[in-house]
Amino acid sequence: AFFWLVSLLLASLIWFVSVHLSDREDAKLQYGLLIFGAAVSVLLQEAFRFAYFKLLKKADEGLATISEDGRSPISLRQMAYVSGLSFGIISGVFSVINILADSIGPGIVGIHGDSPYYFITSAFLTMALVLLHTFWGVIFFDACEKRRYWCLGLVVASHLLTSGLTFLNPWYEASLVPIFIITLCTGLWAFVTAGGSFRNVLKCLSCKQEDDSRVMMYSALQVPFED
């Protein structure tokens, strides 16, 4: 979450500087700068996700070297999931909490001619974004681990595409539906990347207990340490 915040900070800085250096009155220019700012923000988010991956990799190596059995207590997949989830949560919260706070107060949605479905579509978009960040996290880390750079490019491209689709926004059929389709596809992709398969799902649903093939040995004869 901290990394996402820093990326947002840098992107806002860039946008702020560009707005101040430009003509405030020109609405088209401002809109263009906004698009530019959003694109820069997306790219920075992915860059910081990569930086976070590097950091976690180093920490993982450190944990592995000092642990007893040479493996770190947290697998990289779990880290990928947590990282994606936290990016998603902070991104979702930043997008939606002011809207939520305003939704308590008295008011009428869309009284000036905007869409009356603002709140509900914001809610759905935020949900899609949170899920997407989680899936992107899993795919991203896996791609970095296995050095499949086309996967990385695809993740960045899909993030840019999602953000771009929201620019169509009052036309919700064109933005919400594709975004949800993207979410579903990315979810399936992440599921497969994380090692899931149809068989796993069936096994999970049938709730079968696995045989524990480990054997525990006890020894009651131990020389006391101090002697």
Binding site: F2, L5, S12, S122, E226
Partner: protein, 458 residues
Amino acid sequence: MITFMNNSDSEEEPCNERTSLMSAESPPVPSYQDGLQASEAGEAQAHRKRRTGSSRSPNNIADGDTSDSGVPVRESVLENEEEELTLKYGAKHVIMLFVPVTLCMIVVVATIKSVRFYTEKNGQLIYTPFSEDTPSVGQRLLNSVLNTIIMISVIVVMTVFLVLLYKYRCYKFIHGWLILSSLMLLFLFTYIYLGEVLKTYNVAMDYPTLFLVIWNFGAVGMICIHWKGPLQLQQAYLIMISALMALVFIKYLPEWSAWVILGAISIYDLMAVLCPKGPLRMLVETAQERNEPIFPALIYSSAMMWTVGMAKPDTASRGPSQQTWDAAEDGRENHRSPLHADSQMSETRSPVPTRPTTSFEELEEEERGVKLGLGDFIFYSVLVGKAAATASGDWNTTLACFVAILIGLCLTLLLLAVFKKALPALPISITFGLVFYFSTDNLVRPFMDTLAFHQLYI
């Protein structure tokens, strides 16, 4: 309605024990248990000894002899385990501290957002005499800097006074002071808070009920904090009084002064804890020499240092000496407690160090907690509360400050695991918090607002 604020010698800075994070590592305890546990306990103890031995050698002499035999043999193996344990406990301690800090902040932010009283300007403390209602920016800045200088010097004087009292063993005076402060905090401030909350929600309460509620709350609080009580209840009380104190600060410190004070306090904290002649460091060293805890009050402890059951006859005889070890370990808190005669500080005592430990070895690994000074809680909450109060109604700023403070706390705990001595908990968190507050309020907010206006998502 409340007049004390204007002639307030009773308003006080909450610099109690703040910033000092101490890892409550205990010296290894020799194990006299027979059977299966002897070897593992011995091993665990030997490497615990090694871990703590580096930082507190003079204190470990007494119970080092029993583990000496095993130490040279297993040195290399144990070093790895030692580091692993350090990191494992480090991670656990981080979580154990995140929860209370988060709770305190939630209470403060919830109160600020709902009860209007705490964001109204109704006078200032006498420690910040210069007003900020000046026409020019330069004058306002100057006034806030002067306010800060006065506040910090009061804190320094109080801390030095406390250290002197401690050095010359005026324990009764100190205890009396602590009790008086917590009395005022638990009763007076709770009464005011409850009154304001009831006013906000327009709930009527008659005086007898009010008296009953406040009396019970305060009496149980005094007992829990200064004597014995369930750990969680004690922690809850500490969180509540930290929140109350933070609310007082948010209300009575003028805007710019509050930010400058936050910055100055973290610098002061850094110096007081780390410089060789710093008052807090001297306090810690004096306590270490005497092998006694420094004011168990005013510290939030995440775990008790005692266990239940399994009292063995061997350990019972060594009970008192173990106790002093634990006490010495616990005593390593650096708190700055500039106690003021009429202070309303959140001085609370956690009865942790005075517990005898029996079969300490068993639960030592789980029970070892981290201690954080209450002043840290207070200043973190002041930062987040001020962000909630003054950031143009924006929740993003509050959240950003919250994340920044937690990350700072995380980093500080990491440093604590590396350096293994008392560290100031304020500087990193407050720096991050301030940076994030100003940058989010001025840079991120317009960006996010414009995006939300067009319903764009990034």
